[in-house]
């Protein structure tokens, strides 16, 4: 029997939502610290934490995180 059209739509939306949720879970589990610089024209460069530039970027970013403090509670 052919499923009702709204069922097909709901299943498809649920499928996308499940995939998105799984992607976010994987991202949280596996994402490592990174330092990425963007230049005019869209060029981007990654700097590893163990490189000189990467290390300096992490130190500078750490200071900003410190000055920002914790998120104010709503």
């Amino acid at each position: 029997m052919t499923p009702k059209p709204h069922r097909v739509l709901l299943d498809r939306v649920s499928g996308y939502a499940d995939e998105a949720a799984a992607y976010m879970r994987r991202r949280r589990a596996f994402r490592r610290p990174f330092a990425r610089l963007y230049y005019r024209g869209g060029r981007a460069e990654d700097h590893a934490a163990d490189s000189v530039a990467g290390g300096e970027l992490f130190v500078a970013a750490g200071r900003l995180i410190e000055v920002a403090g914790k998120r104010p509670k709503a």
């Binding site: 230049y39 970027l57 200071r63 000055v67």
Partner: protein
Amino acid sequence: MSQEARAIGTAGILAEMSDGETSAAVSGDAAESALAFLAEMSLDLRGAAILDSAGSVLAASGDAARWGEDAAALFEVADRAGDEPVEQVHVGTEQGEVFALRHAGLAAVAVTERFALASLTFFDMRSLLRDLAAGGDGRGRDDA
């Protein structure tokens, strides 16, 4: 706070504005309003600052002097890492994420919780700076 923030200069730190546009004088009040709007829009935001082309802090959430110094240090390190001035910086750490952007002769730096959506955060920061540079209050309204 805006008066205090405006008085704090970090001369020359942002001299290399990558888009070459020079912003008209942006008032501290407009920058404060823009910062408040950014906080409203970005639920993950912990703190942020807006700086002018000379590196002076126009508005900041918290210690303006520290924001000015630390933003300057970040841009300086980022510029040294490549062969041209950087336009955007995104650093993700275990403790949080840092976004920095130069646009329209201004600069914005924001610190968020981990896993903030980078494209949205940069989009919001860019819109805010564009509006400030055009004489608005960062909210993108015509009546500003």
